[in-house]
């Protein structure tokens, strides 16, 4: 009886899922149905994406559980591995929070205070995006290495890792906040100013609430990038276990271990699975935030 009751709505939902779902998402009705050429290209794309992305990532998760659930938990609870995972997540969170504040300030200055040289300033922001990760690593090493010209050596320190992460993730918040700030309606701010509100109050009460989704999604993006960062950190980290060894380095180290290849690979896959889960959570968060941003706009 209960099964019947549940089955009935499930069936109708299956039948009407297509158009209903589309109406829910409010998509314009411009989408074309697939025809011969587009259908074929969809097929090729799906096969290609499966070979390149889906099957390899499935292999990572599959190998993580080679030794069952206990194999997975054993791998990620090894002291050095657990420490590396905690360090990676902690550093990424710190970088995300600092970026949320500094990125918003930089975006504000770029949009609201046009000044001579702001074009160059704008381009400097993009440098970290354009530099290859290993180049970013060497750039940081040139300044903060053993013979630092400013006398600050950050090799093998967590501060060095954090500064490097801030370098490579700087553009994320700036570039997500900037367009929203540009499109912000300034009438409300001008009205508040005419009623005597001070600049900080105007920012906190009027601009900030509207910018918040963009700030958070920028911070989340930099968190995601920081979790997976490797090339820029490898030179400055010195890979000291329990101190500066990050999760990606542990994975790479395990892959180089030829003596016990099968076991090391399983452990590497287990750590990688944790990072993949973190990426997936981040993607969902960005998607949700993106929808909130577009609903406001």
């Amino acid at each position: 009886m209960t099964t019947d009751v549940q089955a009935a709505p499930a069936a109708t939902e299956a039948v009407s899922a297509g158009p209903a779902a589309r109406r829910r998402r409010g998509r314009p009705k411009t989408g074309l149905p697939l025809r011969a050429a587009s259908g074929t290209s969809l097929g090729v794309v799906v096969i290609w994406m499966s070979l390149l992305v889906l099957i390899p990532l499935a292999a990572v998760v599959g190998h993580a559980f080679d030794g069952g659930w206990s194999g997975f938990t054993d791998a990620i609870s090894q002291p050095a591995t657990a420490a590396a995972l905690r360090l990676t997540l902690g550093l990424s969170a710190a970088a995300a929070i600092i970026n949320a504040v500094m990125g918003t300030i930089v975006a504000w200055v770029l949009v609201r205070g046009k000044f001579s040289g702001s074009g160059i300033f704008e381009m400097v922001i993009d440098i970290p995006f354009a530099l290859p990760t290993i180049v970013a690593g060497l750039v940081m090493l040139a300044l903060y290495g053993g013979d630092s010209p400013i006398g600050v050596s950050l090799v093998g320190t967590r501060t060095g890792l954090l500064v490097t992460l801030l370098f490579v993730t700087l553009p994320f918040t700036v570039r997500t906040v900037q367009p929203v700030l540009l499109n912000l309606d300034r009438e409300a701010e001008d009205a508040a100013a005419s009623l005597g509100a001070s600049a900080p109050v105007i920012f906190r009460r009027i601009a900030l609430p509207q910018l918040m989704p963009a700030i958070v999604s920028g911070a989340v993006l930099s968190f995601a990038r920081a979790i997976g960062e490797y090339g820029s950190l490898v030179l400055i980290s010195s890979n000291l276990p329990f101190k500066t060894e990050i999760a990606s380095s542990v994975i790479y180290g395990k892959l180089q271990d030829a003596d016990n290849a099968a076991r090391s690979t399983q452990q590497a896959a287990a750590i990688a699975t944790i990072l993949l889960v973190a990426s997936a959570v981040v993607l969902v968060l960005i998607e949700v935030l993106g929808r909130r941003v577009s609903r406001r706009g």
């Binding site: 697939l34 200055v109 990038r225 030179l235 990688a272």
Partner: protein, 286 residues
């Protein structure tokens, strides 16, 4: 100068009054932003440029002249160009599908295109090794057909394609969505085939956006380190790309001057990409 002295004729614009009132605060903010970006980004870049040329131009050119460096640059070029070509073809196809068609799993496809951005390059390498490596899922099949993926160019190209997957797609989708499909429908009603519509309508529409995506993608492909490090096995003179060589020179040979020289070339490429993409953006806006 004259402009700043004579704002009197138009003081009623509310935005200009509020801007004037916020002046000291906004100057302080500007200072904070410029010092932060200057110390974080500009200073280290200036230092590395100084260190590159401190030993003299002779040292710089001899570092770039070694056969290992030449091979590394050549390999980087081959891998990056192959990856960009693959990404361009699939990027156009995926972008058209996402922007114009409705089909089951459209949002899943969209999510999968974005996934590579937030996956650690080391994990990307690991994933490809687990599938295409000699002991991987497809390993026996590939070995039987005499194909070596891992430790060779095909694997390196695959890894590079993976990490730069969304760049072309994300550059194209907004333009395609904005362009709409009326022109295509008109062409179709006049009897144009899908290929003709692609060549005569779609490609001209997306040309600027495509160039932008290709530039970004090329810059990303040239610089990939982590994923290529894992799948290439990192052998000097065979599978060592320019970014890998930078890492090896610093970590194994402690030859900083040679590393700075290669880094300088990579920085020049990156700057060229920034300037080019900024120029394309400005042209599209006007």
């Amino acid at each position: 100068m004259a402009d700043t002295v004579t704002p009197a004729p138009r003081p009623l614009s509310p935005s200009s009054t509020s801007r004037d009132r916020a002046r000291p605060g906004s100057l302080a903010l500007r200072g904070v932003a410029m010092v932060y970006v200057g110390l974080l980004v500009l200073l280290p870049v200036v230092v590395i440029l100084y260190r590159t040329f401190q030993p003299g131009l002779g040292e710089f050119f001899s570092a770039l002249d070694s056969p290992e460096a030449a091979h590394a640059f050549e390999l980087t070029g081959i891998v990056a160009l192959s990856a960009v070509v693959i990404n361009t073809v699939f990027g156009i196809a995926v972008a058209i599908l996402l922007a114009r068609y409705r089909f089951w799993g459209r949002r899943v496809l969209s999510a999968f295109v974005d996934l590579p951005v937030s996956v650690s390059p080391i994990v990307v390498g690991l994933a490809l090794v687990l599938v295409f490596g000699p002991t991987g899922w497809f390993g026996p099949f590939l070995t039987r057909h005499g194909v070596t993926m891992i430790g060779a160019k095909p694997g390196m190209i695959l890894a590079t394609v993976f990490v730069s997957l969304p760049l072309v797609v994300r550059a194209l989708v907004p333009v395609l969505e904005q362009a709409g499909i009326e022109q295509e429908q008109a062409a179709a009603s006049l009897g144009a085939t899908a290929f003709t519509r692609l060549r005569r309508i779609t490609l001209p529409t997306i040309r600027a956006a495509l160039t932008y995506g290709v530039v970004l993608s090329l810059a990303r492909c040239i610089g990939e380190y982590g994923a290529v490090l894992v799948v290439s096995n990192n052998v000097e003179g065979t599978t060592e790309t320019a970014p890998l060589r930078v890492g090896n020179l610093v970590e194994n040979e402690l030859n900083y001057n040679a590393a700075y020289a290669i880094t300088f070339v990579l920085i020049v490429v990156a700057f060229a990409a920034i300037l080019l993409s900024a120029w394309i953006r400005r042209r599209r806006r006007s």
